[in-house]
């Protein structure tokens, strides 16, 4: 891991760490709430991948569109989706950011242009191409950023979308979170070419491989890709090398990987390394760190309270929003 960026301010360093801590504490609580039965369905946690969410969102603007995956709590929080409604969504409450209809895999938020987690691997890529097309045809200067895992690179939609975005020079950021396992299938067991970024060359798409455990590397790479896109130069593919420290979902016995491998990556965990680096550079004291921890903890507490207190949606509302509703008085 490289040193800290030359002009890094204390303020920016602490902001990045704060955002990553919020994600980690939120998700650690989610795991507990899952065990207690308050959260059901599939729950995919992003422990180890926080730097990608936070670095990416730092580099994007409010007008940009985000398309995510089913492992998207981190993306949503870093994007600015409020934590209370996010937790309420995981509870399935009407006060949730998707009205309680989606749950963990389907976080939507119009206010932050967050176009969903997606339960279909690769399903979001064409959507991002269309969002970028809409930006271009309407003369706006926004980009569409699309997350997907390395497993999605085996889907036809990955290849179709890269081709279409490059052909039309659309401002799409294809952001691959390569955590080495598509659920339980190691990359080398499913791909003939395990360098995901190398696939971009076939579509004349600009590509780079980035250390996904280093929030500064992520931020710089996304900023550069966004500038490229805003300048009308077309899409980029960034392959973030990362690791999922927890199980795939709450049903995963992790038979497919060694504990030693997990431990090795844990040493490189983005929260651990950023904390160490900020302290070593004199940009953060232990007191600062404790304060950030407490603030995140308080925010999570309030979010859980909000979700727990929120009422259930009346069953009579079951069929609402299947089709667009007339404006209700």
């Amino acid at each position: 891991m490289s040193g800290l960026p030359e002009h890094l301010t204390r303020e920016h360093g602490l902001r990045l760490l704060r955002e990553m801590l919020r994600i980690r504490q939120f998700e650690d609580r989610c795991a507990e709430l899952y065990g207690a039965g308050h959260i059901r369905g599939f729950l995919h946690l992003c422990d180890g991948e926080e730097a990608i969410a936070v670095g990416t969102m730092q580099a994007l603007g409010r007008g940009d569109a985000i398309v995510s995956t089913y492992r998207e709590h981190g993306h949503a929080l870093a994007r600015g989706v409020a934590m209370g409604p996010l937790m309420a969504e995981l509870y399935g409450k009407q006060a949730g950011c998707s009205g309680g209809r989606g749950g963990s895999m389907h976080i939507f938020d119009a206010a932050t242009r967050f176009y969903g987690g997606n339960g279909i691997v690769g399903g979001g890529l064409p959507l991002a191409v269309g969002l970028a097309l809409a930006e271009t045809l309407q003369g706006r200067n926004a980009v569409a950023a699309c997350f997907f895992g390395e497993g999605a690179a085996a889907e036809g939609e990955f290849h179709e979308s890269l081709n279409l975005a490059a052909l039309w020079r659309l401002p799409v950021l294809f952001l691959c979170e390569n955590n080495l396992y598509a659920m339980g299938t190691a990359l080398a067991r499913s791909e003939s070419q395990t360098d995901i970024h190398a696939k971009a060359a076939a579509y004349a798409v600009r590509a780079a491989v980035v250390d996904g455990m280093d929030v500064f590397a992520v931020e710089a790479a996304v900023r550069s890709a966004a500038e490229h896109a805003r300048a009308g130069q077309g899409p980029s593919l960034l392959e973030f090398r990362t690791y999922r420290l927890r199980a795939h979902s709450m049903f995963d016995a992790q038979l497919y990987r060694d504990k030693a491998e997990v431990e090795e990556w844990r040493q490189r965990g983005p929260l651990t390394t950023l904390t160490t680096r900020l302290k070593a550079a004199g940009l953060m004291t232990e007191d600062d760190f404790q304060r950030l921890q407490h603030e995140a903890d308080a925010e999570v507490q309030a979010a859980v309270q909000f979700a727990a207190d929120a009422p259930w949606e009346p069953v009579e509302d079951l069929a609402r929003h299947v089709y667009a509703e007339e404006v209700r008085s």
């Binding site: 569109a65 398309v67 009407q94 949730g96 950011c97 998707s98 009205g99 309680g100 209809r101 989606g102 389907h106 939507f108 938020d109 119009a110 176009y115 969903g116 997606n118 339960g119 279909i120 399903g123 890529l125 064409p126 959507l127 991002a128 191409v129 269309g130 969002l131 970028a132 097309l133 809409a134 930006e135 045809l137 309407q138 569409a144 036809g156 939609e157 179709e160 979308s161 081709n163 279409l164 052909l167 039309w168 609402r320 929003h321 299947v322 089709y323 667009a324 509703e325």
Partner: protein, 329 residues
């Protein structure tokens, strides 16, 4: 414009031109819609008139360009996506069923997908088993979609405008065998409903419920039956989702006999759905069992005589109606 004779193809093209002139958010994309002029020549000349930005040739990537249409709709545009045939649309089924149909409900009504997807359907041109099927029932099965099939010149001319005005995803099926049909366009400016069935021909003895190209098979059958003194009432469903039960039931209440004519295969067909709705809601109005004439359960074959034999032709309709009378008397 009143009273002009035009082809179904020309009616669709007029509707496209009108939509492109009326709303700068509207654009057309699909395979060969531009330079080639459309697989069925529907969009011939539109590229010269509206330019590359709004008449977009796509790669053969049904999932990506249908998904991009969904994304562009989310981004504020009003895309018209042309898929060559319903058989090819299966390559985009994920985007249509898992994304377009779900986003409104799953986002708690925050997002809508005002995309229009046009596709050719049905047999009659000796195109064999990968270009001739009628899979409307599959799409009509899915909540969140609106599914229509214009069978007349007036509907071919008017339904696109209504579809573009809908905030929901609308699938428009255009029967391949009707593109060359000509007929009277009563009023190009007339407002046409997206929903609701229509009594195409009044009659007192038996109701023929149908949609798409089978409307004209029913007209031929009704002419034959009229010579026998049996007056058939023909209902054109027009909208396959939602279905208009009231118009069908009111007709059955008058005629007390009903035959459903459907180019889809019998098993799991729209005919089955319509038939059971009649049984559920109009059983005591019936003087004879509900009857159906559907496609034979074979992949549609290439030779003309076998293709004809597979389809619900007028002779089979006439025979089925006669049987309803002879069985009862």
């Amino acid at each position: 414009m009143s009273g002009t004779r035009i082809t179904y193809r020309e009616a669709v093209k007029q509707a496209l031109r009108e939509a492109l002139h009326a709303d700068p958010r509207v654009f057309l994309m699909g395979e060969d819609v531009g330079k080639y002029g459309g697989c069925f020549a529907v969009s011939k000349g539109l590229l010269d008139e509206f330019g590359e930005a709004r008449i977009r040739d796509t790669p053969l990537s049904e999932s990506a360009f249908v998904g991009a249409g969904i994304g562009a709709a989310l981004g504020g545009l009003r895309p018209i996506v042309e898929v060559m045939t319903v058989n090819f649309s299966l390559l985009a089924l994920d985007q249509i069923v898992n994304t377009a149909a779900t986003l409104s409900h799953m986002s708690g009504g925050q997002f809508h997908v005002p995309v229009v997807i046009r596709m050719a359907t049905g047999a009659g041109r000796q195109l064999a088993a990968q270009h001739s099927h009628s899979l409307e029932a599959w799409y009509a099965h899915v909540p969140g979609l609106r599914v229509v099939e214009p069978a007349t010149i007036d509907d071919a001319r008017g339904m696109l405008r209504a579809a573009l005005a809908s905030p929901d995803p609308v699938i428009i099926f255009e029967p391949i065998s009707l593109y060359n049909m000509d007929g009277e366009l009563t009023d190009a400016a007339a407002a046409v409903r997206l929903e609701g069935a229509r009594v195409h021909r009044a009659g007192r003895d038996v109701t023929l419920v149908t949609y798409g190209a089978s409307l004209w098979r029913c007209v031929t059958a009704a002419d034959t039956l009229a010579a026998d003194g049996i007056e058939a009432e023909i209902i054109d469903l027009r909208s396959l989702r939602p279905l208009d039960d009231a118009t069908v039931l009111a007709s059955v209440h008058r005629t007390r006999r009903v035959v459903i004519v459907d180019e889809g295969w019998r098993t799991g067909s729209l005919a089955a759905e319509v038939g059971l709705r009649i049984v559920e809601q109009g059983f005591y109005d019936l003087d004879a069992p509900v009857a159906r004439v559907c496609a034979e359960e074979v992949p549609i074959p290439y030779p003309k005589h076998l293709e004809d034999a597979a389809l619900p032709g007028p002779e089979r309709i006439v025979a089925t109606v006669r049987r309803l009378f002879s069985d009862v008397q």
